[in-house]
């Protein structure tokens, strides 16, 4: 383990209290809704905000360096950091090369050498030949690459990224995400990435920490979090319906009423997760194998590529993906009553 941080800090009405550890070479994603305190944690790690409590320390060969605790607060410019900010924040008065060279110049590298190194980094991030431009003359994707080069050029021990892709358009985001993945894989230090986009977290991170209202609500690999969400926020993000309940063998009694048959026996407080594409809709109560059949009401419907995502209300609130054809044949309008069915084997169940 290389970065160990326990961050306690109050921001207005929000008390942030988050524990993080990141190993060398590991990419940790901090995922959470707007206002959860993600950027606040990042600012504390960067030294831009002094925490109200806790401790931030970095392992180094032969010991550890404390960055923040009750006595110590190392200012940002003395931390071996690289930060990529959401709006990239390239200095508008400097050329792209000088932006990238900035971190070297502040650390005493001579101008010519710094520019040479900066040029090499621009090549690496695919900006060869654009070094003389001003940041305003770059596209969003190019600016984000330049910001990455600027953060990495000083060979930091810790790389912090705050929503590095959110200012990009959908197309550019695909490209830059793939590039970023490559660069993060090559980076030897610890990386903390803040995002509210699960796709970023899934694509880029080795481990995910979900923060809501200033506290960690879930932690695990991207696959674990995607498969077994523990809060409604995460469940909606990854497109699952999450139903808390009490396991009674192969049935679960939901906290909101209703009973779900599950494939694997479970006891005690559990979560039930249902994937929308496994939910089938019928105009009348279907006869057949599925043990789970519930009457529901259509609350809303949104087309989604060739399928329609249906929000369903009732004892067992669900989301269902049905093909546009099926949706049309069912003649569904908001308020329609239908029957929803899911195979017990398709229902995931895991302890709360």
């Amino acid at each position: 383990m290389s970065l160990r941080a326990h961050v306690v800090v109050r921001r207005g009405a929000l008390l942030v209290d988050v524990d993080l550890t990141v190993a060398d070479g590991e990419v940790l994603a901090v995922l959470g809704p707007n206002g959860a305190g993600k950027s606040t944690v990042l600012r504390v790690l960067a030294g831009l905000l002094a925490p109200d409590g806790g401790r931030v320390a970095l392992d180094v060969p032969g010991g550890e360096v404390v960055w923040d605790d009750d006595e110590v607060h190392v200012p940002p410019h003395q931390r071996p950091l690289g930060v990529v900010f959401q709006d990239h924040l390239l200095f508008p008065h400097l050329s792209v090369t000088d932006n990238v060279a900035f971190g070297l110049r502040t650390r005493g590298v001579r101008r010519a050498a710094a520019r040479t190194t900066a040029g090499a980094w621009l090549d690496r991030v695919g900006l060869a030949g654009l070094g003389d431009r001003r940041p305003t003359q770059l596209s969003g994707g190019q600016a984000q690459r330049a910001a990455l080069a600027r953060a990495l050029v000083g060979e930091p021990r810790l790389l912090l990224l705050d929503e590095p892709l959110s200012a990009l358009d959908a197309r550019t985001r695909l490209t830059v995400r793939a590039e970023l993945r490559r660069h993060l894989a090559e980076f030897a230090g610890c990386t903390v990435l803040v995002s509210h986009d699960p796709v970023d977290a899934m694509a880029l991170a080795d481990r995910v920490v979900v923060v809501e209202d200033g506290v960690v609500v879930q932690e695990g690999t991207p696959a674990e979090v995607a498969r077994m969400p523990r809060t409604d926020y995460v469940a909606r993000l990854v497109g699952l319906s999450l139903l808390p309940g009490q396991g009674r063998g192969t049935t679960v009694v939901l906290d909101g009423g209703g009973v779900v048959a599950v494939g694997e026996p479970a006891e005690g407080p559990v979560f039930v997760a249902v994937r929308p594409e496994t939910v089938a809709l019928y105009p009348a109560r279907p006869e057949g194998s599925p043990r789970n059949v519930w009457p529901v009401r259509l609350v809303g419907a949104t087309p989604h590529g060739s399928t329609v995502r249906c929000d369903l209300g009732g004892e067992v609130p669900l989301t269902a993906d049905v093909t546009a054809t099926a949706f049309a044949e069912l003649g569904l309008v908001p308020g329609s009553s239908v029957w929803a069915s899911v195979k017990a084997s398709e229902v995931a169940v895991y302890p709360r």
Binding site: R43, A46, G47, L48, P75, P76, H77, R79, L81, G82, V83, F85, D87, L89, F91, P92, H93, L94, F102, G103, R105, T106, R107, R150, A151, G154, L160
Partner: protein, 261 residues
């Protein structure tokens, strides 16, 4: 353009410009143009431009840091400090000159020491002119630059810090270039005020052609004996400063590109 704005704007411009036009019309140009060629006028003009420029330079060196402290530091009592910095604007300039004597005069707190230890006297020298003008004009610079600093995006300074820049490097290499247009605007106000300075200068620096007689002093004296010559001298001062402002704007402010202009 809405009339409720255009009408007062026109009125206001007329109010500011008509008196200048009055001066222009009234000035007996044909009689007086030869007088302008007199060496004294050139001397006073040169001294005015030199001392106003030096005063602006000193104000930049001392005033920009004050503005930075007001805008960025977390010192308590900053609002009192800000009010105190504003207050010299209110001081009648002659009293300002007296106040400068109390500090830098031969009998002053600091001046006595300089006089006794180094045989240095400040009053009645060009240095005194620069000091008097700085005292009167610096507050304008401080207040303008503080505004510009507050309006600037402080996140660029965060970015610089994460790139290893301490606060001084950040200030020099990031903050200052970013607020350059605001600093320029403040410097223009400061320069104009210094160029027009009269009361504190005549009190603290006196009036001696070639060393301390700036244009406003020459104008004032001319008013005593030859009011029309005084008007022409003022117009020369106006013309020179107008030309300087327009030139600067094109050369210097123009580069950083104001949003609309």
């Amino acid at each position: 353009m809405p009339a409720p704005l255009l009408v007062p704007a026109l009125l206001g411009v007329a109010f500011l410009v008509l008196p200048l036009v009055g001066l222009l019309v009234r000035a007996p140009w044909s009689d007086l143009l030869p007088q302008l060629a007199e060496p004294q006028v050139g001397q006073a003009l040169r001294l005015s431009l030199l001392s106003a420029t030096l005063a602006t330079a000193v104000s930049l060196v001392l005033g920009v840091p004050i503005a930075w402290v007001l805008a960025r530091s977390t010192l308590p009592g900053r609002s009192v400090l800000r009010a105190i910095v504003t207050v010299p604007l209110v001081l009648p300039p002659v009293v300002g000159g007296v106040a400068l004597f109390l500090v830098l005069g031969r009998q002053g707190i600091v001046g006595r020491f300089l006089y006794e230890q180094f045989d240095l006297t400040i009053p009645f020298t060009t240095t005194a002119v620069v000091i008097a003008e700085t005292f009167v004009a610096m507050p304008f610079l401080v207040i303008s630059v503080e505004g510009a600093l507050r309006a600037a995006d402080a996140r660029f300074e965060d970015a610089a810090a994460t790139l290893g820049a301490d606060r001084w490097t950040t200030f020099r290499r990031v903050t200052l270039p970013l607020v350059a247009p605001g600093v320029a605007a403040g410097a223009v106000l400061c320069w104009a005020r210094a160029l027009g300075e009269f009361g504190a200068t005549i009190t603290f620096a006196g009036n001696f052609p070639g060393t301390t007689q700036t244009m406003p002093l020459a104008v004032y004296l001319a008013l005593q004996s030859n009011p029309e010559a005084a008007i022409v001298l003022s117009l020369v001062l106006l013309g020179v400063s107008l030309a300087t402002l327009l030139l600067l704007r094109d050369r210097w402010l123009g580069r950083s590109g104001s949003p609309v202009a």
